[in-house]
């Protein structure tokens, strides 16, 4: 497939699936009316010729793609940056899009150890969309993380398509604390036995901001593991949503999957929506999901203030510990260091 094909293919695919709508199950909780239709579907006719020629991994499957956010950067002819990390390499990298639309392809070799931080593109116009294709070979250990600063992001999509071979580990960790609307979508394919995917995301939202996560994890080999852990701290009119699907194929024995969403509502007008979906076509699997929503723990508050700590400080302590706790289980790594530092 050459680059012209990929652009026009993505454009026609968008035409075929149409703009996101509420009744589209991938966009259930998203304020779809906020997507500026003009800038999203106004494709430059000569864009295809400007594109750089990049070999596209067979895992792309553009013609079968269902998520608008996954197609948009390609259809907009985003510059594709390819990074190949050789077998056994250790690498720390920063990734930053310089345009509204970005596309990054990462090919990570066998047993490589990679730490990737995604930085924000601060000059965004109406809409930004980035797509990441991450191909993780056997035994590789990869962490992908970002902690968005509290700036004025109007509307941002980040799509990750992650394909994992046997015994590979991917840890995806993020903090969302922007002021706009953010949507992160992840399709993770656990294609080799022993593959493991962990995602931890923290939303610290205020004002009218909203943050939406849509994940589908495909357990396509035996003995694969996925862990999803989301925490929300919502104030003002903020809204967060979590839409996590786990699909376990037949013959995938000893699959383990967990999903936990904890929300603390700090205001009357903040809200959260959670939709766990489990499609399990095998018996020998352990899948759990849980969802809690509440205010700060009254007993913990009482304990702190009864030791003389003023209520505002006590509240801050509890909020910070709720947030930091999410990342404590990470191994010592740049991601852990950065994310915990952001929460200080």
């Amino acid at each position: 497939m050459d680059s012209m094909n990929k652009v026009s293919l993505a454009q026609s695919r968008i035409q075929a699936i149409g703009m996101p709508r509420r009744n589209n199950e991938l966009w259930t909780f998203f304020p779809v009316a906020k997507i500026p239709a003009a800038s999203a579907t106004n494709f430059a006719t000569d864009s295809a010729t400007a594109s750089d020629a990049v070999s596209i991994p067979s895992t792309f499957e553009i013609s079968a793609e269902k998520d608008f956010a996954a197609l948009l950067p390609i259809a907009k002819n985003a510059h594709t940056m390819v990074r190949n990390i050789a077998d056994g390499e250790s690498e720390m990298a920063l990734i930053k899009a310089n345009n509204d639309f970005g596309h990054t392809v990462l090919n990570i070799g066998k047993n490589a150890r990679v730490s990737l931080e995604i930085l924000d593109n601060k000059v965004i116009h109406e809409l930004a969309a980035e797509r990441f294709d991450v191909c993780v070979d056997e035994g590789a250990d990869v962490e992908i993380f970002f902690a968005n600063p509290a700036n004025e992001l109007p509307l941002r999509f980040r799509h990750f398509r992650i394909v994992q071979a046997a015994n590979s580990t991917v840890r995806f960790s993020s903090i969302e604390r922007g002021n706009g609307i953010s949507r992160v979508s992840i399709d993770d394919f656990l294609r080799g036995s022993g593959a493991r995917f962990e995602m931890r995301t923290l939303n610290i939202l205020n004002g009218d901001s909203s943050s939406h996560h849509r994940l589908t994890i495909y357990h396509e080999a035996p003995e694969t593991t996925s862990v999803q852990f989301a925490r929300n701290l919502l104030d003002g009119h903020a809204n967060a949503s979590y839409d996590g699907s786990v699909i376990v194929n037949p013959d995938c024995t000893k699959t383990y999957s967990s999903q936990l969403v904890n929300t603390i509502l700090l205001s009357e007008d903040s809200s959260v929506s959670v939709k766990p979906v489990l499609k399990i076509y095998h018996d020998d699997v352990e899948c759990t999901h849980g969802n809690t929503c509440g205010e700060l723990d009254a007993d913990q508050m009482f304990y702190l203030v009864s030791r003389g700590i003023p209520p505002e400080s006590a509240k801050k302590m509890l909020i910070r510990s709720f947030a930091k706790e999410l990342f404590y289980p990470l191994p010592d790594s740049p991601a852990k260091k950065r994310l915990l530092q952001v929460l200080e």
């Binding site: 009254a298 702190l304 030791r307 700590i309 003023p310 400080s313 302590m317 509890l318 930091k324 706790e325």
Partner: protein
Amino acid sequence: MLSIKDLKASIEDGTQILKGINLEVKPGEVHAIMGPNGSGKSTLSKVIMGHPAYHVDGGSVELDGKNLLEMEISERANSGLFISTQYPTEIPGVNNVEFLKMALNSKRNYLGFPEIGDDEFKKLCEEKMELLEMDDRYRDRGVNEGYSGGEKKRNEILQMAILDPKVSFLDETDSGLDIDALRIVANGINHIMSPEKAVILVTHYQRLLDYIKPTYVHVLRHGKIILSGGPELALKLEEQGYDWIEEK
């Protein structure tokens, strides 16, 4: 110094738990409160600290002439009241030592003292931990996080030792302690006690009172103090239970 007069308090559904408590605590005194399960002992400690689950229906609570009931909870603590709850709350993610320092500095701030320096705090902490024979596990973990019942109680006394309150209300601090821990904790309390301070101990057993001699023993039943006496009352209760009191 602590003066409780005709204190009445109820829970959300309107059920009155405290039905007119009177208690006068003077400097240097140790008061033991005993009484059957469910009589209102823990409720009393939480009401005087201002726990939001209770509504005060009437009466007064004063500490050195200041009306506690009108103060914020943190102000009550910073004015010199300390309560150790029967089941200390776990707060994972809030480091125990940082919490202690924060609490101490809140009090110093309230009283107009500068914050304690790192070295000075470390020294104070080490000294009190040694007194209570506590090891480093208490330092590294979250507040009461994963502590055993006995460890939690010991951690409460550590907080008391560091905050140095005027009046301490210790709710069943002896329960869950093994024989050695009971001795250590009781010695700790005696060590913190002074002629300017007072302690109220809620306990079901005489054994704590072997270590900490009470000035008065009170029996709380159905939300009222129905009998008060000296140390000998605790011995009698241990032998005969509570039923004889109502027969009187």
